[in-house]
Amino acid sequence: MALSRRQFVGAAAGTAALAATGTATAQEEPDYGGWFDDVSNYDGTVDQRGQDTVTITVGAQGNNGAFAFDPPAVMVSPGTEVVWEWNGEGGGHNVVSDGDGPLDSGDPVSEAGTTYSHTFESEGMFKYVCVPHEALGMKGAVVVRSGGSGGGDSDGGGQQQGPPANPDYGGWFDDVSNYDGTTVDRTDADSVEISVGAQGNNGAFAFDPPAVRVTPGTEVTWTWTGEGGGHNVVSDGDGPLDSGDPVSEAGTTYSYTFEEMGVYKYVCVPHESLGMKGAVVVGGPLDGGSGGSGGGSGQEGGGIELSGPQWLLSGSVLLAFFSPLLFAFAMRRRQSGRPPQTSEGGELRRATGPEPVEEAAETEPAVELGHDEYDPKGTAALVAFYFVLIGLLWVFMYFVEFLGRVSIIG
């Protein structure tokens, strides 16, 4: 099965090289009918055809938390085994087909390392959700389509041209603050250095550069800056990178020589949730490609974004801010021309200076009560009532509400 697929891919590589891209854009992005409208980490379909197994992370960062599949939309060849792998974040997740469909991983689980796989034989579009987090946007789709293009990290050797000019990272860099949207091109170098513990993600929690492209056979060396605590370099999902337990010492190095083409995503495990992630793109760039939307947009699209309808929130704030003034101005108009009243008519106006103003007259008490003539009987009655009320409420709250429940002992 695998062999015939490889052969097929190899044969198609020639034609594919001309027109294919890393994503399915050149072959028409599948029409999901709005399925991904509320999925924050959806960034086009990742074309993973030509691979035996494709891994999808369950609990990736997205949708205001770890409530995403990564990649959410993937295209595979018939006969591919898709493996969903839980990263342990975001609570309990599952993988269940939308409507009728073959996917059902069972009850939600949260444990990292859990896997669920399904081999897709027939072509089609298979939408699925994580049931408890569907409302947040935790949805995905597998499009099974024959045909092929580059961009896999499996065997295939020199027949494939490599990942496209703008690889589609599928939202990988959404929470990486030092990713500026570009993949640094170091294809001219024999060895490439990436610093570990560069400034980013609110601290020294970044790889610099986070996305870099090299030619196959290049040795990439990660060098620790000594900042940001303990770091490591570990592949995301299956992958060859593993520098071991986190270390913090400046000058530590870890190297790996990349032979196979592909996109190798990796993280620093303890700081992954802060955004300490990177990717090494081996091979390419393929010409004639317009990747997805520039491969995993950075933190913000560069403009000001508002969640919720923009006009509603900003409109209310502005309205609230100005409404008292607007109202007052409206009142002013009605009353303009009417001079302020003075207590006696016809007072001399000053030639210069502010309008004169005076206070109301002091009111004399009807009955004068001195210190020795006054006993606050009413107050005494009120505070006595308050005393009794508080006492009763306290007893009720303490002995009925509080002690009536399971309590902490010792």
């Binding site: 603050s177 929130l313 101005f329 109301a360 308050y386």
Partner: protein, 562 residues
């Protein structure tokens, strides 16, 4: 002569402080109604649930920190000037204002960053979804912490202006008792100086360098403890100005005289002594703090009830005196013979009434083990909306009706709205707060955008959960209307023309029992400050020592941006 003509410079200062305060009130109130509609599920269209927390941070900071501090600065400036009969030292007072305003803008901008996509400014994301309590290891943009620090430092300088005024007055009036209003202002400021040490250390020594990346870890328990060292006395920073109004102005509004000046001084000294060594009652359920210290905090807190209970008696007695002077008879019918149609009076009375209820829920909060019942549930916001949200806020609004004409020289406009506004606020608060208390008993949490969970359902204790949610939404909406009414009155008055005869009179009659009846030792600030510091050393010394014994930054946590 009207205050604005006697003291034009200080009047300008008070107007500026009030302007900032009222703007913060408006935006904070809008955020409040957005929250009320969102978390009850009535309308979630304004923001996403994730951005709810930005709104919540804005609501807390703008109302509990900006609205309050600026209003109090204005009120105190008036009170000191009025009672010492001299203008404040202007340079000091104005630098305080500008410093606080700069801090406010910094903090506000970093908070608002959270709903406009958190652009990266100077290497950090501009957001501060850390709420009013900004617990580490959650981290906001450094500008947030710097802004908070500037507001605090500005308030210190404002206090300096009041003290300088007193010293100048004293050199001209040797041997005289400090006038009551100034005494209250200075006692409050002394308490404030002592209590802000905690949050100043937390922010300046730990959070600012940590958010800038200059230090790697902070100890979350230590920073939390330093915050709550400040976090309880800050409520007295809000309450004591309200007491100043109730003790010195409310009796006159009722047509009476203050029942006892000496007792008022005793109450304020008690607050100076006891406000700070009670902070652990906000940390009853914290690990890492031995329960012995929690017990001490509990007994201190319970005794802190005493000055408030005494205030209840003195203030009500003073108001009753006013009713009696109007000719009222009977045990309770005198309540009718009071000027309930005067907005300043009605507002203060309703605020005081609500405070009595808030006091009770506070007693439950303070009760160490019974705190388990309601800790971090929505009962807690139910409590503090009664206290800071009404006892302080409604008193502030009410006294503005009386004070703003005097500092502007303009008659109060929109009187119809003003008369009704305190009642709207009272009803809205009664509906919202009582629902919050009941919902808290059902276990519904506070600070939560959508308090429904997949794994279980809440059960109402008295009434269903749905009913409680609806009441919170309705009450919150009414409060928003009440705030809007107040702001309309203020805006219309501020834009009006000067002149004419005001409907308010500033004369404050002598108390029934005057300052000459109170022991001189009450005015001995040095003594009371020393005792206050001693009590703090006893309550906080050993626990803080054990927290820093294993290292100032250990057990440490790196910043986690939100």
């Amino acid at each position: 002569m009207v205050f604005v003509d006697s003291y034009p410079k200080t009047s300008k200062l008070v107007r500026s402080e009030f302007l900032v305060s009222f703007i913060a009130l408006g935006i904070g109130a809008l955020f409040g109604v957005i929250q009320a509609l969102h978390r009850t599920g009535v309308f979630r269209g304004f923001v996403s649930s994730a951005d709810y927390y930005t709104i919540l941070t804005g609501h807390g900071v703008l109302l509990a920190l900006v609205f309050t501090t600026f209003f109090i600065a204005g009120l105190f400036a008036w009170a000191v000037t009025n009672s010492l009969e001299r203008e404040l030292p202007q340079r000091i007072a104005w630098s305080a204002f500008w410093l606080m305003l700069t801090g406010t803008v910094l903090a506000a901008v970093s908070i608002i960053g959270g709903i406009v996509g958190s652009p990266s400014i100077l290497g950090h994301d501009l957001e501060a979804d850390v709420l009013f309590t900004f617990y580490a290891p959650m981290k906001a943009h450094p500008a947030f912490y710097i802004g908070a620090a500037l507001i605090i430092v500005g308030s210190w300088i404002a206090g300096l202006a009041y003290f300088k005024s007193l010293w100048e007055w004293r050199s001209e009036n040797p041997g005289e008792r400090i006038p009551l209003q100034t005494f209250m202002v200075l006692t409050t400021m002394l308490m404030w100086y002592i209590s802000t040490i905690g949050v100043a250390v937390e922010v300046v020594a730990f959070l600012i360098p940590w958010s800038l990346g200059l230090i790697q870890n902070v100890d979350p328990l230590l920073t939390r403890t330093l915050f709550w060292y400040f976090g309880h006395p800050v409520v007295y920073f809000w309450l004591m100005p309200a007491y100043l109004v109730w003790y010195t102005i409310l009796p006159k509004l009722a047509g009476g005289r203050l029942f006892s000046d000496p007792l008022a001084r005793v109450v304020f000294v008690a607050f100076l002594l006891l406000s700070t060594p009670v902070g652990f009652h906000h940390q009853y359920t914290d690990p890492g703090i031995p329960s012995g210290y929690k017990f001490i905090a509990m007994t201190n807190t319970m005794f802190l009830l005493l000055p408030s209970l005494l205030t209840a008696f003195t203030v009500v007695a003073s108001v009753e005196h006013g009713a009696r002077q109007r000719g009222a008879k009977g045990y309770l019918s005198w309540l009718r013979d009071l000027p309930w149609d005067k907005p300043a009076f009605a507002g203060c009375m309703l605020a005081g009434l609500m405070f009595a209820a808030g006091g009770f829920s506070g007693m439950i909060n303070a009760g160490m083990n019974i705190n388990y019942l309601i800790h971090n549930t929505i009962w807690v916001p139910g409590h503090f909306h009664l206290t800071v949200g009404t006892a302080f806020a409604l008193t502030a609004m009410a006294i503005s009706y009386w004070l703003v004409p005097q500092i502007t020289g303009k008659k109060l406009r929109q009187r119809g709205l003003a008369v009704f506004q305190p009642y709207v606020w009272f009803v809205g608060m009664a509906v919202m707060s009582n629902a919050m208390h009941r919902a808290g008993l059902a276990g519904i949490p506070r600070r939560t955008a959508e308090p429904t969970y997949d794994e279980f359902a809440f059960e109402g204790v008295a009434g269903t959960v749905g009913e409680m949610r609806l009441q919170i939404a309705i009450g919150g909406f009414l409060l928003f209307v009440g705030a809007a009414m107040f702001l309309i009155v203020m805006a219309d008055t501020l834009l009006a023309r000067r002149g004419g005869t005001l409907s308010v009179n500033s004369n404050i009659p002598e108390p029934l029992s005057g300052p000459d009846h109170s022991p001189r030792i009450l005015d001995n600030y040095k003594l009371w400050t020393a005792i206050a510091l001693l009590l703090i050393v006893i309550a906080y010394g050993p626990p803080l020592a054990s927290m820093v014994a294993d290292g100032l930054f250990a057990p440490g946590s790196p910043p986690i941006p939100v």
